[in-house]
């Protein structure tokens, strides 16, 4: 009996100490991890869609509250000291798992500036063809209307043989475009303080 108590005691002490230590470490590393994920996961796509801005969009990011109560991380781009574009991530289900798309909008002309893929788990060789520049470039300087495949009521060419992935990408951009008007007001207010 005494042995059993000791066994349970030792195990729970080790468990508690390690749990407490890890929780502390998690708290301590949280900002650093966030920074790294932004730099290495969203970073490449972000820098692609915000090419030519003067600031570091990752450092200048802000969390903006949305209508549905969620918070959205928005990355601003400044040109000559003025807010010129906004980028944020949008998701839509693809063939296997969500496709993440970084969408940048031009604040002055209210157009899509560019799009870039952040995360994807599509079948190599099939879905991944969607992410070639030729497909993504169709969104460059694209007005907020007609953001759909040609088979629908838009003017985007789907990649043949990868309709699901093309569709997912268009859906993600559409979602972002739907959020944009609301977001623009908040963003302009947030960065003009």
């Amino acid at each position: 009996m005494r042995e059993l108590v000791k066994m349970v005691l030792v195990l729970s002490i080790i468990g508690t100490v390690s749990g407490y230590g890890l929780a502390t470490l998690k708290q301590a590393t949280r900002p650093a991890i966030e920074e790294q994920v932004l730099t290495y996961v969203q970073g490449p796509a972000l820098l692609g869609v915000l090419q030519g801005v003067d600031n570091n969009p990752i450092q200048d990011r802000k969390q903006l509250p949305m209508a549905d109560g969620e918070e959205l991380t928005v990355f601003p781009g400044f040109k000559d000291g003025n807010l010129c574009c906004l980028a944020f991530e949008s998701f839509a289900p693809g063939y296997s798992g969500d496709i993440g798309v970084m969408v940048a909008f031009d604040v002055l002309s209210d157009q899509v500036r560019a799009v870039g893929v952040t995360t994807q788990t599509e079948t190599p060789g099939v879905g991944t063809r969607v992410f070639v520049p030729a497909f993504c470039d169709q969104f460059r300087e694209h007005p907020l209307t007609k953001l759909a495949l040609k088979s629908g009521d838009g003017d985007i060419d789907a990649v043949s043989g990868a309709t699901i992935s093309s569709n997912a990408m268009v859906n993600a951009v559409q979602k972002a475009a739907a959020l944009y008007p609301e977001l623009k007001e908040r963003a302009v207010a947030a960065w003009q303080e």
Partner: protein
């Protein structure tokens, strides 16, 4: 069709040992005879499927809601280690015939990285519960397949005139390399 593709991918195209390198230790350690390989493979299929069926609810109902998903490694390994021991006790007591054939291999599985690896892979790929279980079952089958093939080859190698410095593990590793090369031919299928 979807599940068929999932199974084919897990067994052949990205075979867990020969393409994903998981479970290399038991792959080398328990592949000296076909009978042993069959037992080990069976035990792995069994535990791998159970482990996913158990760790999936833990991940989705405990770790994610309480935002402690960084403890995944600790929780999963403890669950798998306890699971292995419980299964062993249960089989010994209630299903002696199965224990006879699988029992001695069960304890070897705690430190088999294929089991923990598949449990984590299922979470990282964000599979649904059913998909996760099917994937685990197929991955286990892929492990069994690779293990039985190499055991059959090694049984023959024992009587072959292998150069002295290659005897034992080195030649087994080279054989595994050749098998891996053969499995690479499945790549590009099922796309």
């Amino acid at each position: 069709m979807d599940y068929f593709l999932l199974v084919i991918t897990a067994v052949f195209i990205s075979n867990i040992v020969l393409v994903q390198y998981l479970g290399a230790c038991p792959f080398m350690g328990t592949s000296k005879a076909v009978s042993v390989a069959l037992g080990m493979g069976g035990a792995v299929i069994f535990v791998m499927t159970l482990a996913t069926a158990l760790t999936w609810p833990i991940q989705h109902w405990l770790l994610l809601p309480y935002r402690v998903e960084y403890l995944q490694t600790i929780v999963f390994i403890l669950v798998i280690a306890s699971l292995v021991q419980l299964v062993e006790m249960f089989l010994r007591k209630f299903v002696p015939p199965l224990y006879e054939s699988l029992g001695i291999f069960l304890p070897l599985i705690t430190t088999n990285c294929a089991v923990l690896g598949v449990a984590i892979l299922v979470q990282r790929s964000e599979y649904s519960f059913i998909r996760g279980v099917v994937f685990s079952l197929a991955s286990g089958a892929g492990f069994l397949l690779a293990l039985v093939i190499i055991a059959a080859i090694r049984e023959r190698l024992d009587t072959a005139p292998v150069p002295r410095v290659f005897k034992g593990t080195p030649v087994a590793l080279i054989t595994a390399g050749m098998m891996s090369l053969a499995f690479y031919a499945f790549r590009g299928m099922g796309g």
